[in-house]
């Protein structure tokens, strides 16, 4: 990677709530114009990390610099250059679509002309023109999310923070949001997102930090993580029940490692064709037998022994 100056730098970042170390002494850096993902199950500390970055909650210890400004010292200045899209929408339900944007623009001290111009650009970019005067209560989930992203961009921030951007959206709306995220990255905006969806992480993120119980357990590009942490391919067996031991015994020399879950057995190897063939020959009454490419889901499973969505 070229030696650019990081746009977000976190060092020794820690958040303690009572007895709980929600975020435990983590470090990371985010390069400008990239998309960085925090991946992990609920309660891993992803949202807390984000809230510390956009000054919604104080750090217990450590430091975060955003655009070289300390988040504890320069709250307003830091927030001026960050757009935030929270998981539960924080739209202003007392206002219609256009006023959500215009009122928000005032918090950044944009004047009326700037605000109107910017709001119109965003309404067009996010295809909300027809809904301009509609109360936000009546918008669909996808439109609300788009309006929230639009609102976050009102002051042209160079960092956009998205907490679970596609949770609760139907597939079409998810793809729409992803497409807009790609366009923003192309425009040079730095994205930081949390997700517990592997496909979202693979779609959007240049780099990922996998979090579990307040720690970053590994970091890298999606492809690097798959390459370094698990074997490239996997055989997935469902309904193996009482045959599990005999399957494992039969393929043990052909696989790199396995994960035995309550509902399925995962067998990892560089090339799974022989494994697949071997099991097929055993002629067992299995529910499913399939081979696939390894994914981030497998990385997470390997590192934590747990599945992402519990």
């Amino acid at each position: 990677m070229t030696s650019t100056t990081s746009i977000i730098k976190a060092q020794g970042l820690t958040k303690i709530y009572g007895d709980l170390r929600a975020v435990n002494n983590i470090d990371f850096q985010i390069e400008p114009g990239t998309c960085y993902g925090l991946l992990g199950p609920n309660g891993a500390g992803k949202t807390t990390v984000m809230r510390m970055i956009y000054c919604a909650t104080p750090l217990s210890s450590g430091q975060i610099l955003v655009n070289d400004l300390d988040v504890m010292e320069n709250m307003s200045a830091v927030k001026r250059n960050i757009g935030v899209v929270t998981q539960d929408d924080s739209l202003d339900y007392d206002l219609n679509v256009i006023n959500n944007l215009l009122v928000y623009a005032r918090y950044y001290d944009l004047n009326r002309d700037q605000a109107v111009q910017r709001a119109e650009e965003l309404i067009e970019f996010f295809q909300l023109g027809e809904k301009r005067l509609v109360n936000v209560r009546t918008l669909s989930g996808g439109m609300k999310r788009r309006l929230q992203i639009a609102r976050a961009l009102i002051n042209k921030p160079n960092v956009l923070i998205l907490d679970e951007p596609s949770t609760g959206l139907d597939p079409q709306a998810r793809h729409h949001v992803w497409a807009k995220c790609h366009e923003l990255i192309e425009q040079g905006v730095t994205l930081l997102l949390t997700t517990h969806y592997m496909d979202e992480a693979e779609q959007l993120c240049d780099r990922l930090a996998v979090m579990d119980r307040g720690n970053i357990i590994t970091e890298g590009s999606p492809w690097e993580l798959i390459k370094s942490e698990v074997s490239p391919q996997v055989v997935e067996v469902r309904g193996d029940g009482k045959y599990r031991d005999s399957i494992l015994l039969a393929v043990k020399n052909q696989i790199d490692f396995h994960e035995a879950l309550s509902d399925r057995l995962l067998l990892y190897a560089a090339d799974v064709n022989p494994v697949h063939a071997q099991i097929q020959e055993m002629n067992l009454p299995l529910k499913t037998l399939l081979s696939r490419r390894s994914s981030l889901e497998d990385v997470f499973l390997k590192l934590t022994g747990r599945e992402l969505i519990d």
């Binding site: 010292e73 924080s90 339900y93 950044y108």
Partner: protein, 259 residues
């Protein structure tokens, strides 16, 4: 690692005030009518109804005795309703503050903006009441115009009291206690309906420490042109309490929203 909280910015607070004004503007015609009905009902019911049996109170017709105090109580209701229920809903149910606080507006700015708005709502309630009183018979004199700045200042004081309570409670049901056990007794025992001198001395002393009492005395003095140094004392009491309470409530909201 606690660092000193950033100072409060008036400009940012005014943005929050503007947001509320934008919302209010949409429905103000619907909202403002009750503010005019309410004084009518009070004056009719209490002044003419009860007043038929009570000819005079401290040398003035009963309706004229209670009107200046009722005016102040209407500011109290208006300002506290705003900074209790409305703020609580914006903070906890509608998540509006989550949106506002991710902009350059900080918790203390937000709190000050809500205080300005609470004072504004109190002024609207009180202003409506005041205009009714002037239109229907309370004698005009130039001194009575002193009431106008008082609408906002007293509104601000009650806004801080409501917001302080809101900043420490977790359940919306607890407002019942605030209204029933705090504001209602104030309403009844602050000299609006009968002179405080009628009550036992300990109660008079307690009354001195409560906010509505000073507003009522000040208002009645102004309406009836009973100019005395005591009016200045009442005014200073209101000013000092407002300033101190503002400092406390800004900290309290900061603590609530930034943790």
């Amino acid at each position: 690692m606690r660092r000193s909280a950033p100072g409060v910015r008036i400009k940012a607070a005014l943005r929050v005030w503007q947001r509320n004004a934008t919302v209010y503007k949409r429905t103000w015609k619907l909202n403002i009518l009750p503010n005019f009905f309410e004084p009518f009902l009070y004056l009719l019911g209490m002044g003419l109804g009860l007043g038929a049996y009570i000819n005079e109170m401290e040398g003035m017709p009963y309706i004229e005795f209670i009107a200046p105090g009722l005016l102040i109580s209407s500011i109290m209701w208006g300002a506290t309703l705003e900074t209790t229920y409305n703020v609580f809903v914006k903070m906890n149910f509608d998540r509006i503050y989550d949106g506002i606080l991710s902009t350059p507006v900080n918790p203390k700015d937000l709190a000050l903006g809500e205080l300005f708005w609470g004072a504004t709502r109190g002024s609207i309630y009180g202003g409506a009441f005041f205009s009714i009183l002037l239109t229907f018979g309370m004698g005009f004199h130039w001194g009575i115009l002193l009431i106008i700045p008082l609408l906002f200042i007293i509104g601000f004081m009650f806004a801080t009291i409501g917001l302080l309570f809101t900043s420490v409670i977790k359940e919306i049901e607890l407002f019942n206690y605030f209204f029933t056990l705090f504001l209602t007794p104030l309403f009844l025992f602050s000299g609006i309906f009968f002179p405080m001198t009628q009550l036992p001395e300990p109660i008079q002393i307690i009354a001195w420490f409560t906010p509505l009492y000073h507003g009522v005395e000040l208002s009645r003095g102004i309406f009836n042109q009973l100019w005395s140094i005591e009016l200045v004392h009442h005014f200073l009491w209101i000013l000092v309490v407002t300033v101190l309470n503002t400092i406390i409530v800004l900290r309290s909201i900061h603590k609530r929203l930034y943790r």
